[in-house]
Amino acid sequence: MNITHNIRVIINGQTREISVAPNETLQDLLRYRLGLVGTKSGCETGDCGACTVIVDGKAVNSCLVLAVESNGSSVTTIEGISSNGELHPLQQAFIDHGAVQCGFCTPGMILAAKSLLDEDPNANEKDIRLALAGNLCRCTGYVSILKAVAAAGKTLRGGK
């Protein structure tokens, strides 16, 4: 099958017109065609959350989205949440709280947390646990990640 589709998608604020194969996932497009390798590939079945990106404000597993489906959408990856070297409060909180170890779950974890905090700035500990339940981490035991997200929420609410 050599059919391709032309899609128009805003990636990290930049409009791109790309020709994609019908079976190409958003994850593969980002990682292997656009070089946005901060998005990780951990299971390809939507069970680990490492490939989480934000599409039109919602966190999704990019391994379960076809690239062609993102036509007309706005996609945010880990490369798109800091500006000019200025870290997003979540990124800073992950560093400060020791929420990063091997780092493989980190981009997906941060983006899942970001979509939660964007949606609900007052998210409490229970909300955070629920929102991050689809992001597996084998290094940290999640404790410092939960703390980091709560702290970033506070910073974003201006409560620091």
């Binding site: 391994c63 989205v65 489906e69």
Partner: protein
Amino acid sequence: MSLMEKLDGGVSLLAGGTDLLVAMKDGRLRHRTLVDIKHISNLGAIRPEDAGLCLGAAVNTRTIARSPLVKERFPLLSQALAVLGSMQIGNRATIGGNLANASPAADSAPALLALEASVKLVGPQGERLVPLENFFSGPGKTVLERELLTEIHVPSAPDQGRGVFYKLGPRGAPEDICIVSVAVFAVPDASKRIWTDVRIALGAVAPTPIRARNAEKALLGQLIEGRTVEDAARLAAEKDARPISDIRGSASYRRAMVKILVARALEQLSER
């Protein structure tokens, strides 16, 4: 609808893709034509319908779970959909897809069965409304015949009715595929002494999600008390459930859990 006439074994309908893409990747589905149905108009809305609801088949489950309208009218449905999958899955998985995929463990099914929802199927020959209970025909099988599931209708329920959903997963995380799930919607009489309407639905204990009719019968018109609850829970486990053993649990554990969870749900609903 001309498209529907072309539907055959080589075409799959793509909604949220959270099940379909996994099947494509592990080789269960290959070289198919995919038709993306997410953007068909009218499939994407949640509408009040009298005192009930009409859910567009392409609405994602997390949107439904968080909808104030759904929370207000059918907290049971909201509760069930909140644990249908991870946040990322819930943001993609559609209510129509969860039903049409026809997993015996589909998390949306027991609540909708207990709420006596119907599904609207549209095909070249016209449209029909099928009670959800008659929609599933086996694991991964439905009565769909070159048709599209377009809407889910949840009828109004008596004001005094209340519902409970339990999902027993291996971990307790929302993305778990359940070992057993139970949804109960029950209506007491005005004095709160007698069950006037009880609907019990079970997931992952039969080839399809099912209503526990034997258990329901044992409760109808009976006193709300421990003995009737116990009888009904036993019937649900012994007469209604037909579980198999798989990697998540044995048939006997599933049966035992049906009894425990149905009893718990009824007890919770008996509290005045």
